[in-house]
């Protein structure tokens, strides 16, 4: 089966610019996650969707980050305006069930560099 798709794979922008990332989860997976992984650290959950509803966005910096999953399939994550500390890899993951013992499948990530 096809895995989680993400684009773009790499993005370089200047601070204060905006950027958007796209994710297409595995077909049939109702739960979608966006993680931020700073170099040398483990992934940190930014937002979790169940279909097109938000389950957890407690660690999303809502003054600059936004995410949507309008039709319960694809999702976009936006940063506006970007800061230097947003340089990281942004990972999208999906799972069939909304429970933690259900395996999460990760996409290849988008590496963002903010200059």
């Amino acid at each position: 089966e096809a895995g989680v798709a993400q684009s773009p794979r790499y993005k370089i922008i200047e601070k204060r610019q905006s950027v958007a990332f796209w994710c297409n989860p595995i077909s049939g997976h109702a739960t979608l996650y966006w993680y931020q992984q700073i170099l040398g650290q483990g992934p940190k959950l930014l937002i979790q969707f169940q279909n097109n509803g938000v389950v957890d966005d407690s660690q999303l910096p809502k003054d600059r980050f936004s995410a949507e999953r309008l039709k319960g399939v694809d999702s976009t994550l936006k940063i506006q305006p970007a800061k230097l500390e947003d340089s990281a890899v942004y990972l999208c993951a999906s799972s069939f069930l909304k429970v933690s013992y259900n395996e999460q499948f990760f996409g290849p990530g988008t590496r963002l560099t903010v200059l």
């Binding site: 940190k44 069930l97 013992y101």
Partner: protein
């Protein structure tokens, strides 16, 4: 929030040797998972152990869980060059089992041929 640091943060061994890495966590859990990350395949799920289990095996992997110490270890036996990667533990569950995972800082493993 993040879990504790990987222990060790970096590990270098020869092919054929065993590799042991540890992780600690802070919150109550109902399961702990280990993931591997390398540049070629991204982040991949390896094994899950539930909070009522103490040990689990999968191929060359052995995971232990000590909930009283809030710690887990991952043992890779007979390591191969292809095992070179970063390994992360992630905890799930607790009071609200929404699917959220909290990842540790990870251990970088280098296996020399």
């Amino acid at each position: 929030s993040q879990q504790g640091e990987g222990d060790p943060q970096a590990l270098s061994i020869q092919e054929g040797e065993n590799a042991t890495m540890n992780c600690s966590y802070k919150t109550s859990i109902n399961n702990l998972q280990w993931y591997r990350q390398n540049s070629g395949r991204g982040l991949v799920h390896l094994i899950l152990i539930r909070s009522n289990e103490r040990e689990k095996h999968s191929g060359r992997l052995r995971v232990t869980l000590d909930t009283s110490k809030k710690s887990s270890s991952l043992l890779i036996t007979a390591s191969r060059a292809a095992d070179t990667a970063s390994y992360f533990c992630a905890t799930g569950g607790g009071s609200s089992n929404t699917g959220k995972l909290i990842f540790g800082q990870g251990t970088t493993l280098q296996v020399k041929p």
